[in-house]
Amino acid sequence: MYFQAEQKGIKWEINVNETRTHWSISLKPETKDWSHYEMPKSSFLELDNAISFIHNNSSYVFDVVGSGTDYTVYARGSYRVIKIFNDEMLLHESLKQDGGLVGSDKLSAGMPGKITKVFAEEGKEVKKDQPLLIMEAMKMENEIRSPKAALIKKVFVKEGDVVESGAALISFEKSK
């Protein structure tokens, strides 16, 4: 099975092959070559809320949280946020846009909170890292900045709104 993934801003191509005895995984980061990993299924375990396997002779316990295209993978006190698309999803995306991985043109709330200040204005251009709004969560004020230079299409929230995790906050005009 073929996938495309994005992690820490880098795009990867992935091939997963399953046989009765082995997992065969190939990874290719953009601008580099393919690397291959063979994993015997005897060393692969499914646990409560985790999968465990031996990689590079070291045993890992990974907790993969998420579904669809967005996953957060935890292991050894560390984590990664990964977007992964199988071929069906890639087809959908390429029909929606001009192909390749989707660049997000919507800013969503990363956690539940209350909007205390809105700086973004519809129709105005913003620079990368420019503050768009302030959200209060966990006793702290969090300044939310623009992920890229863009033109603001719609602002979905106003001061005083309480939002849930994943709620749409701002949408940008499609970047060229």
Binding site: Y37, T72, V73, A137, M138, K139
Partner: protein, 497 residues
Amino acid sequence: MFKKILVANRGEIALRVIRACRELGIGSVAVYSDADRNSLHVALADEAYHIGPTPSKESYLNIAKIIDVCKKAGAEAVHPGYGFLSENEDFARALKKENLVFIGPTPENIEAMGDKLNARKIMQEAGVPIVPGSPGPVTTEEEATKVAQKIGLPVIIKASSGGGGKGMRIVHKIEDLPSALRAAKSEGLNFFKDDTVYIERYIGNPKHIEIQIFGDSQGNVVHLYERECSIQRRHQKVIEESPSPSLPPEIREKMGEISVRAAKAIGYIGAGTFEFIFDNKTKDFFFMEMNTRLQVEHPITEMVTGIDLVREQIFVALGRPLSFKQSEIKQTGHSIECRICAEDPVTFIPSPGTIRRCRNPQGPFIRVDGYAYPGSTVPMEYDPMIAKVIVWGDNREVCIQRMKRALLETNMTGIKTNIVLLRTILQHPTFIDGHYTTQFVEKEISVNPDIFRFVLDESFLIAAAITAYNDRKSKDTSRLKITTRWKDMARLKGLRN
């Protein structure tokens, strides 16, 4: 001895107090808000009472509700923990009026040290060195400019009722002074309802070193030596250690003596901490503020002195004299504490949610004060700190290795944690040589984005790919089942005909 103590707090400190009560045979009464129903302190206490909706104002900060629970449960004393109502003199007074014991200092102690300007004056009169600054509040730009020119730039403008790093502005150039003054005053008004500000010299190579003191109702006061808390980010402590690797022994003794003298001068009862700014170059120390409560980082003092501070708080509240004399207090070995917080280690944005897997470190000389367990929730309305990992070692080197070992064993999934940040700090040469200042994390760690190097990128991708593969495979198989169901339906229809 008290029959029951109400713990007016939540999270790990509530657990800490419940444990001290248990060890003394005292009944523990927990209170909880909506969000904390499945919290560990509720499960472990002898009794638990619901005190309201999640927002702190309606639950943990609600004095009337807490006193109500005391009466219902028959608790004779209240331990306020840290934060919440622990430094609220109105709460202390309200308890006194109802003949309930507040396990902490007197309301007068709290009031005296709660106003930072007043505290400065009292300390100065007691002979405690204070940071050179304005003799009183500063209201106009002219006053501020005169003070700044007298004590020399850079200066820091501080809100008198402030705390937790709010209501402060650092000024390096005289022309920035007017706007900084306005900003500090407005923050003081917005967060603490008081726009009184004063000015102090800003110390360039500052270390945050604090002295733990303990006083009883008979006028005895001792100090339990120091803790260094310079590993901070935006004035939030991240790692603390005791003893301080940079403190010369004679300065240590001097700071201890001065703190004891100051505590006696104000008739302080209970556990308290004097926070000092220590200039690592000149070895000068200046009083910053006094915390009239038990501190988050108290465990490292317990590990190094062998004294149970919460137990002693209960004894002092009963009116007993201190269980130890100054000559009996010694620092043995070294201790470090790391605060595990539910936040993104790079952006520090809080990461509330449900904890899925949870593994605490164990083994020799490890202590974990935390409230996480698999399936527990980290609510978004409260502090993001979920656990403190504390280690003890014969010396600092052993301690650092042991803490690195402990953090390798610590694993929490479902929420982001700052574990990789802690591991990065512990390996940094500036931390290892001990001469780090309060600027260290923001200047050397926060700008280096490579704190995710402990696990290879590929390993995560492999896990995600296999999971995505299995997700897709199970979707295909369920489609197969639907086809079979259609077949079944047709067969059934065929049979009926």
